[in-house]
Subunit: 506 residues, 2 copies
């Protein structure tokens, strides 16, 4: 199994094949939800990226799963596979290259190690959970172009993430050309000469670097929400020929899908990619569903024209919108988890999307949460080093991460399956309220409203303890007494309050 403990080294070096399962299958046991990497020597003449087809079928009990392999340069062909159950697995390859065809082997899948909870999938319609059953309270941020920054910035990004509340990172596969992002990347995904891309070949080093980044995120418990296409481009990647787009997708699926922390985001602002039609997007979605044997989470992100998230290929909605109050109705319409992947960013840049206060960023997280949806963070402060977290990573400067951490802790403490809204909530109503489906936890969020008393309508026959939470000051104040049915409580008469009720004795 490939272990890249230093992705900076990987980024700088030639392809590192390293330790891997042998092609005969006499390798080490593979922990469940880890991955095995089969590595074969094969043809290096001609164009291995196009000429050679390689796949392997993995068998376990009565199931078989087929994944594609990929050419990693220097005559090396690889197949990555994530076993999802313990026990004996066998595999057989298939290839049009005789030296890669009909190889077979076996390995044992064993219990996962600590910190390996498996991939995340949709749970209870609107929420997420790890494969081992642990709820996953989605809490995302963005470092869109961190893959193309200085190695020390990349290391810093991982360190920052490991001490942050964020457990999902949106990041681009392709380099980014945009405000604050006007430099050439250290490598290109395809061989490039002047302004001409050789789309018939991939640059394995480029993708090996992404391997390493994704695995570093995996190491610190962060989901890698991989953005497959985006419009912030000067190199041509937003308008490649159709067959190149599909080849590219199959290549990244073959490389990355066995990493348990991978999510697919077909695009950032898909509607700004003017060269692509809806039919094109359909073909990309089909490619994802066909070739990703592990069924990793899939979505797409828009600018102006909201994507039709009811479509079956989307596992969840990854919206760009600041109208947080629409979350509950969208959730009900689409019957899927709703993540506000982009609701603007905390920062102080002179772009309307990048100068929210930390308080406002926090408020948006609460507003989404109280509707059973999820919110996304990003940060755009004009710091002297010009390293803006939103795109470059590095360090965080804002006030919202600590407040978001407070919210995430509250949710993880008490909500096993994630909150769900009580009926319909909208901007005209206060407080918003959400509850765990078994009513074991019910919370109310007052947002900008500041009532000095409120009558809460709790389920009869259950007894609750309660606490008052100041969502901005980050204080938790127990409210004395046992509560049941209609409960009138005095409140501080300040905005940003939340009242949490927890069933006693469970």
């Amino acid at each position: 199994m490939l272990k890249l403990s230093s992705f900076a080294a990987a980024a700088a070096s030639a392809p590192a094949i390293g330790e891997s399962a042998s092609s005969t299958g006499a390798g080490r046991p593979i922990p469940r939800w880890d991955y095995i990497e089969l590595c074969f020597a094969g043809p290096s003449t001609g164009n291995p990226f196009i000429d050679v087809h390689l796949s392997a079928t993995f068998h376990h009990k009565n199931r078989s799963l087929t994944v594609e392999g990929f050419y990693d340069g220097d005559g090396a062909y690889k197949i990555r596979f994530m076993p999802d159950d313990v026990g004996n697995w066998t595999w057989t390859t298939s290839s049009n290259a005789p030296e890669l065809d009909s190889k077979s082997g076996a390995f044992e899948c064993v219990q996962p190690g600590e910190g390996n909870r498996g991939p995340v999938s949709v749970r209870d319609d609107y929420h997420f959970g790890y494969a081992d059953g642990t709820p996953y309270v989605e809490c995302g941020t963005t470092c869109y172009a961190w893959a193309f920054q200085a190695p020390e910035t990349q290391r810093q990004t991982i360190d920052t993430l490991s001490h942050s509340p964020f457990n999902k990172l949106r990041m681009c596969i392709f380099p980014k050309w945009y405000e604050y992002n006007r430099k050439e990347p250290p490598m290109y995904p395809f061989p490039r000469s002047g302004d001409v891309n050789d789309y018939s070949h991939f640059n394995p080093a480029y993708f090996q670097h992404h391997d390493a980044l994704i695995l570093e995120l995996r190491r610190v418990g962060v989901q890698a929400d991989l953005i497959l296409f985006h419009p912030y481009d000067k190199w041509g990647y937003q308008s490649m020929p159709p067959e190149v787009n599909i080849r590219y997708l199959r290549y990244v699926i073959a490389r990355f899908s066995a990493f348990r922390n991978v999510w697919w985001s077909l695009a950032n602002e898909y509607d700004l990619l003017k060269a692509k039609t809806n039919t094109d997007w359909d073909s990309y979605a089909r490619t994802l569903t066909e070739y990703d044997a592990f069924g990793q989470l899939r979505s797409i992100h828009y600018s102006h024209h909201q994507y039709e998230y009811w479509r079956a290929w989307c596992s969840h909605a990854g919206v760009q919108d600041s109208r947080m109050t629409l979350a509950a109705s969208w959730r009900a319409d689409w019957r899927k988890p709703v993540i506000f992947d982009e609701c603007k960013y905390e920062g102080d840049i002179p772009s309307r999307w990048g100068n929210l206060s930390g308080d406002e960023m926090t408020r948006r997280f609460w507003e989404a949460t109280a509707q059973g949806a999820y919110c996304g963070h990003g940060e755009t402060y004009l710091v002297p080093d010009q390293i803006l977290w939103w795109s470059h990573g590095g360090v965080l400067h804002g006030s919202s991460p600590a407040k978001i951490a407070f919210l995430r802790k509250l949710l993880e403490e008490t909500i096993a399956v994630g909150p769900g809204p009580i009926g319909f909530t909208n901007f005209e109503e206060s407080p918003m309220s959400a509850r765990r489906s078994n009513n074991a936890v019910i919370f109310y969020y007052f947002d900008l409203h500041q009532p000095a008393q409120w009558t809460f309508d709790l389920p009869q026959g259950k007894i609750y303890s309660s606490e008052y939470i100041d969502t901005q000051a980050l204080t938790r104040t127990p409210i004395s007494g046992d509560h049941s049915g209609k409960v009138e409580l005095k409140l501080p008469g300040k905005p940003w309050g939340s009242v949490w009720f927890r069933e006693k004795g469970i």
Copy 2:
């Protein structure tokens, strides 16, 4: 002319005819936009409210205006008239009662005294001005049921208003039955026996009290936005017979329309008055336009179903909505001033419409202002004496009035004709910006956004001074330098900022 310097006395006493112009016209000169009250003795037998018709036509140069008179009890008939131009006016009465018919007289209208700027009307399509040309920066609040509170509370209300930024007060003609308003009024508008109203008679004392309240508001420079119908009723006034509604309207028009500070609001939450049809409302609107010879400002206020404010009888829109960002588009649609008469209230009561923070109330004023619209204040704090300003008047407890005063001062300092929006602004855009039509003043409001720098696009060929304003901390910080064209400024990187540019040398 009737002068009620103590409205508490008026409320308690029998009809006070007092000093008035004589029926022969040999009275004192009347200041422009003040009013003359003609007082005649007439029939007191039968039912003077229904049996006797009285009107008078006033002539000045080539104009004549006809107003209805009203019976004020005890055999006294009155006609009130507000002359709108200086010079000699003559008048002649018409009545089916011989002793009231064909009376005539004359008076001289002279220049107004200090503080008398005339009635307010629409100016520059979207704004307001006094008849003497002074801009009127609308800044309203509500004391819906102040007419029915203890006399000392009424005195306190006037005192509070006279020290507040508020220059318009929404108030009900009929008593109010609602949360925090569950008591009988000291008087009824119609004679009442048990639960039965005698709609064939008015109670003059009731309306004399309103005369006095309106004149007290006039004394302290506050427009009386009279709410003619409302649904918070237990006495039957929301569902009177059709002919009673019209008789009532003609009676209040005859009594109040000559007071220069009167505005008409056909209803509060008209759509909650279930006994009334759209045709009914049309008939009331027609009555206002036909019988109010002075053309005082007219609007109506809704709960859920927005009124069609494009209708010709409405001089302006008096909306109830919290979606402040729709102001600019409504303004453009209706081509009329837009006032958010109700966007919820500062306070801490457990009703969703009554627990905004002072900061949020202030923010709503700024958001309306930056779109060339107007906002309304109200206050609902659960104070120990249970006197809530929103309905009862009394004293103010909140933090927004001082902040609203700050905004009003800024506007009055600099904007002669009121601000108008630059193109279309919406929730997605920041900053909102507004400008005086001649570009002499341009201001930007950043709301919750906190950019640390911004490029402003000022008109070429004009030179501006500028200042940074913290709309919540109420600080004004001059920005050095002369500005023209594209101007990049450093900003504090905090929310709630506003930058004002003023053309130099004007």
